[in-house]
Amino acid sequence: MIAHQAEAVVLRTWPLHEADQIVSLFTRDQGKIKGVAKAAMKSRRRFGGALEPMTYVRASYAEKPKQELVRLDSCEILSSPLSHPVDYVRAAVLAFFSEVLEDTLPDHDPQETVFRLLLAVLEYTRVEQPWMPLTYFALWVTRLMGWLPDLSRCVFCSVPLTGAAAFFHSQANGLFCAQHKHGGYSQLSFDSHALALRVFRSPISALVTEPWPRNRAVDLRRFALRSLERNMERKLTTAAVLSRLGG
């Protein structure tokens, strides 16, 4: 038995037997791991609200040889999504982070950059400002998974798209110039294209100061979510909810 302590974000939980839970943790050092939290539903002393998805915790767990599931002994909350007001949209954005990471992260493979991205978006995902962190996360995670080409050039001919019209298609990666778009392509608005380029140059803290109402950069959000879904090769339940809520 090897005892560990790790910084982690709770991704998801599933009930197991009467009062136990299986917990998926995204740890900083070891990537995604799964563990069993015994009596988690009842033992407030050990887990309290720490197993709520998207809680940033310091987890203590024990690894048993030849066993896939670790034994989760305790979780100390470093930052909880419940320490700020919650509404349906914020809950849906947080659930989107959970669903995407649970599905895309490989087991036992540290992903330090993704981990830092997650902490950053969690800090800024607020009731007043849910759409920007969502778009920021969706674009970045697609890039970090290696699925998103350079958005400053046409993926077909590499001509720079800055100051020019950029087009996208729900079945293709990246952006296209006016010459290489075909039927069924949509134009990404100038504001959205500029924002997309800034997302990859700026920390999220630089973007939160701007107002980002629901109807800002809807096309960019749609582009980001579609890119992610297409490359994940599945429809995300939370993306459907977010489309309903935000267009």
Partner: protein, 199 residues
């Protein structure tokens, strides 16, 4: 081909559908039923059948009941103008344990759950709105769980009810954040109810 006779494998298949029952346990239970007396086996079958035939949802509050309206909604000694909104029928007993609540209930049968694709249209909200709009209610206590989904549901309902002439309160966080009120002890739950605040 199954290694059991047809009636046996049929029972095993049905038992396996129950939560927490795997193939091994299903076999054990099936053999136990086979060995038990005909009366015991019939009593079990009747209990299962009657559960589905006799139990339904209360048309006023959605609680599970064998009489409609349920005992709470039909009670002349309970304050029918005070409504406590809970996620599941099992949550009612947590509030009842406090022995200090004398109002009635409304059961949503779920929470908004983006991860499971559960939206407002999947919750039982309609008859609560009707009650409130008909001015039959003075106060709605939102006692959904102190989780992200429970909070989101409470805020959603508060917004929905805001236009009506009704006091809307949320239970205090005496119930630890992220937990399930089903497991809150009676003292914690009583404090949460007493400390409720207007939203």
């Amino acid at each position: 081909m199954s290694r059991f006779a047809e009636p046996m494998s049929r029972l095993i298949e049905e038992l396996k559908k129950l939560p927490g029952i795997g193939a091994k346990n299903a076999q054990r239970l099936a053999f136990h039923i086979l060995r038990s007396s005909a009366d015991d086996a019939r009593a079990l079958a009747d209990a299962v059948r009657e559960l589905k035939e006799k139990l339904r949802l209360c048309s006023i509050c959605n609680n599970i009941t064998d009489v409609d309206p349920c005992v709470y909604c039909a009670s002349p000694t309970r304050n029918q103008r005070l409504v406590c909104v809970v996620e599941e029928p099992t949550n009612i007993s947590s509030v009842e344990k406090t022995r200090s609540y004398n109002g009635v209930y409304h059961v949503l049968h779920g929470t908004l759950s983006p991860l499971h694709g559960v939206g407002p249209e999947d919750l039982r909200i309609g008859n609560l709105l009707l009650r409130v709009q008909a001015s039959e209610v003075d106060e709605v206590i939102l006692a959904t769980n102190p989780t992200v989904e429970g909070e989101a549901t409470a805020v959603y309902l508060a917004d929905l009810l805001r236009s009506a002439q009704v006091k809307i309160t949320r239970i205090a966080t005496g119930v630890p954040a992220g937990s399930d009120i089903e497991y809150a002890d009676e003292v914690t739950m009583a404090r949460a109810m007493e400390g409720r605040h207007e939203v």
